[in-house]
């Protein structure tokens, strides 16, 4: 059972989710490359962990075994599905 598919920036902090799709076309070349370097890929598990204190941006995300910071504008291109319990 999978939950609805939502953009990563709308996922509640601390919720584990599986990447369903990444809209590579919505990202610039170097942004897309960096996301791949960080290990963003379909079927990878992510957990949003922290938000920047000013204006709730950027977003710290656990991806695989790494924690990375991306801005919400980029997080929006990553679509995730939460596992229903």
């Amino acid at each position: 059972m999978t939950g609805p598919i939502i953009p990563l920036d709308q996922l509640k902090l601390g919720t584990r989710a599986r990447i369903a799709a990444i809209d590579w076309a919505a990202l610039g070349d170097s942004e897309a490359n960096r996301l791949k370097h960080f290990g963003f890929d379909e079927d990878v598990m992510v957990v949003p962990l922290h938000l920047g204190p000013f204006g709730r941006d950027p977003l710290a995300v656990r991806v695989g075994r790494m924690t990375v910071a991306i801005r919400k504008a980029q997080a929006r291109a990553i679509k995730v599905s939460t596992e229903a319990a």
Binding site: S30, N33, H37, G39, G52, P53, F54, G64, R71
Partner: protein, 616 residues
């Protein structure tokens, strides 16, 4: 003659690569530059088990062979034998973080594909265990087809084995087929890396990781920014207060040495040059070594603990309002030590417009070369009283000057982003590494390198300008009843500058100091030191510069002088590095002009305001 074999040390950022490089080479390192680019080249010497020497080069951390920054481009070019100023390495030492295998193995696979004789260091194996991860190095070795050695670089664990394996590979003749690595696409490599990592994990016990807990506090929406501000404040107070004892000792030693040599030499031009030029000038700058080292120690510690990236995370949103990204925070913070490494650190900013803006405002960050100027003037004019528990007024003024620089930089960035550097930008992507205890030897090596650079500057640029200035200020000699600084050649040059800066409250002594201070800001202190020392004549012996200063300048002039130095682009090295980093004269010239205009008006506004309040 065959050159010593070269081993390239490569790996992802945050794999502990530099710690391993330090553990293998110790203090036998050299820092240089690759020709044509401003990427630092770190090489060090080590000895193989059979006693033969080997050279190690610490390549910039990279995520892959498809560069997104100049640093990563150097890593790729060295490994493909295309980098000017570097021979093709005979072997490769890949450093991976044991607790981040799924990610680091992707780059490792790319590197192994290059076909160089390779050893993999499975580094920070202790931290992986702390995180409940148990790995099978032999399994990994089978999958990768190259030797894998468990290491803990910070405790020098596994170092002998690494050197042993490298030695075996280097003595074994083997055909190198570098430069023809099969180009698999990133996602395919990543999936293969994840598979291998999965296979190498024997057991995984979920534990609540220390990093996660610390981030809960340090990235907390309320506590985070407060802690960041407190750390910054502590840093600036420390620079001022902890340095007092060693700086006083250095000052006393220079005074004593100057007086001793002065008494030992017969009166004449030689004695004047040594006492008034060398000791008063260069000595005045050397005194600031403790402060510069304390500042660098803070920056190095913050970097090696992993906190610096968190600071960038906290600041990103605010910096984005000024048209910068959180990535600019680290170059700008480094610029507090020196704008030259700060501007060089902008290479990690992948957006060209973001990067240019950061370069243009970096000189506004209060660099350590301004400290000599600030501390001298503050010590001479601001009373050493406390205005609260643990808060000295002098430290507070210094903090204010730093804030003025930061505010100036943010405003300048905002204006630049809307005028000359429009467009681009909009992303911030950084890895938040695990927290680590600062590695004392690594901090010590970093500090040693900075101290050596500072002392080299003091021994060359500052010494040369001080002696030239001494000559200009000493001749022709003043007759009876005349002031030396009025009749000398320097005095006449200063008259010209004085005409321009008199409206903003600068006296002739300051005008005299501004010209040599173009070489480097701290020379201003040396220059004032030399001039006052000459004016004082021989009979008084050496007095401290503060004592001489406080009687001669009004408070308004002193404050205007401080305001000037917040903005003025007085540093040849910064201008030179800006030219190199922007490939031409256009941007450095623009930078120098806008900063001088800002400096003039800031000093003017300060002076006129102070005079209006009766401080003139």
């Amino acid at each position: 003659m065959n050159p010593v074999p070269l081993v390239a040390v490569a790996g992802n950022p945050n794999a502990g690569k530099s710690a391993l490089f330090n553990a293998l080479t110790g203090a036998r390192q050299k820092v240089g530059n690759y020709p044509g680019v401003t990427v630092e080249r770190h090489v060090g010497k080590a000895v193989l088990p059979d006693g033969s020497p080997v050279e190690l080069v610490d390549l910039p951390g990279a995520y892959g062979l498809d560069p997104t920054s100049p640093d990563e481009a150097v890593t790729r070019d060295v490994l493909l034998g295309r980098q000017k100023g570097e021979r093709l390495p005979q072997a490769l030492l890949i450093v991976v973080d044991a607790s981040n295998l799924d990610n680091h193995l992707r780059f490792t696979l790319q590197l192994i594909d290059l076909g160089l004789p390779t050893v993999v260091a499975l580094n920070m194996i202790d931290l992986a265990k702390r995180d409940g991860l148990e790995l099978d190095a032999r399994k990994l070795e089978e999958e990768l087809g190259v030797p894998v050695i468990e290491t803990v670089a910070v405790r020098k664990r596994g170092m002998a084995e690494v050197m042993g394996r490298l030695g075996a590979l280097l003595t074994q003749p083997r055909k190198i087929r570098a430069g023809e690595g099969p180009a698999s696409d990133l996602l395919t490599l990543q999936r293969r890396a994840r598979q291998i990592a999965m296979g190498a994990i024997v057991r995984e016990t979920p534990v609540r990781r220390i990093t996660h807990r610390l981030d809960g506090i340090l990235l907390h929406p309320f506590a985070g920014p407060i802690i960041l501000a407190a750390i910054m404040f502590l840093m600036f107070q420390a620079v001022f207060t902890w340095s007092v004892v060693p700086a006083d000792a250095l000052e006393a030693a220079t005074l004593a040495a100057g007086n001793w040599i002065g008494n030992a030499l017969p009166p004449g031009p030689l004695r004047s040059m040594i006492v008034d030029g060398l000791f008063a000038g260069v000595g005045a700058v050397i005194v600031f070594l403790p402060q510069i080292l304390i500042l660098f120690a803070f920056i190095l510690v913050l970097e090696s603990t992993g906190y610096m990236v968190r600071a960038a995370f906290i600041m990103d949103r605010l910096m984005s309002h000024a048209g910068l990204s959180g990535r600019a925070f680290i170059p700008l913070l480094s610029s507090f030590a020196c704008a030259v490494p700060g501007i060089m650190a902008t290479r990690t900013i992948d957006d060209p417009k973001d990067r240019l803006t950061t370069i243009l405002v970096a000189p506004l960050m209060t660099c350590s070369a301004r400290l000599p100027v600030y501390t001298l003037v503050i010590a001479a004019f601001i009373p050493a009283i406390t205005v609260g528990p643990g808060i000295g007024l002098q430290g507070l003024v210094l903090f204010g000057l730093y804030i003025a620089g930061i505010a100036g930089a943010l405003l300048a960035a905002l204006v630049l982003r809307r005028t000359v550097v429009r467009g681009g930008g909009g992303h911030f992507m950084m890895e938040l590494p695990k927290y680590q205890m600062p590695r004392l030897t690594d901090v010590a090596i970093g500090l040693w390198q900075r101290a050596a650079i500072f002392l080299k500057r003091a021994g060359t640029i500052i010494l040369a300008t001080t002696i030239v200035l001494w000559a200009l200020a000493s001749f022709p000699q003043a007759g009876p009843g005349e002031k030396q600084s009025d009749v000398s050649i320097a005095g006449h040059i200063a008259d010209g500058i004085h005409a321009v800066v008199a409206p903003i409250g600068f006296n002739k002594d300051i005008s005299l100091a501004l010209l040599p201070a173009m070489a480097a800001r701290e020379v201003a202190v040396a220059a004032i030191g030399t001039v006052y020392s000459l004016d004082a004549g021989n009979e008084q012996g050496l007095q401290t510069l503060e004592q001489r200063l406080s009687g001669r300048w009004s408070l308004a002039t002193a404050l205007a002088f401080l305001a000037w130095f917040v903005f003025a682009p007085q540093c040849i090295s910064t201008i030179a590095v800006t030219r190199r980093e922007t490939n031409g004269w256009r941007w450095p010239l623009f930078m120098v002009s806008y900063l001088f205009v800002l400096a003039y008006f800031a000093a003017g506004a300060t002076y006129w305001t102070a005079v209006a309040f009766g401080l003139g």
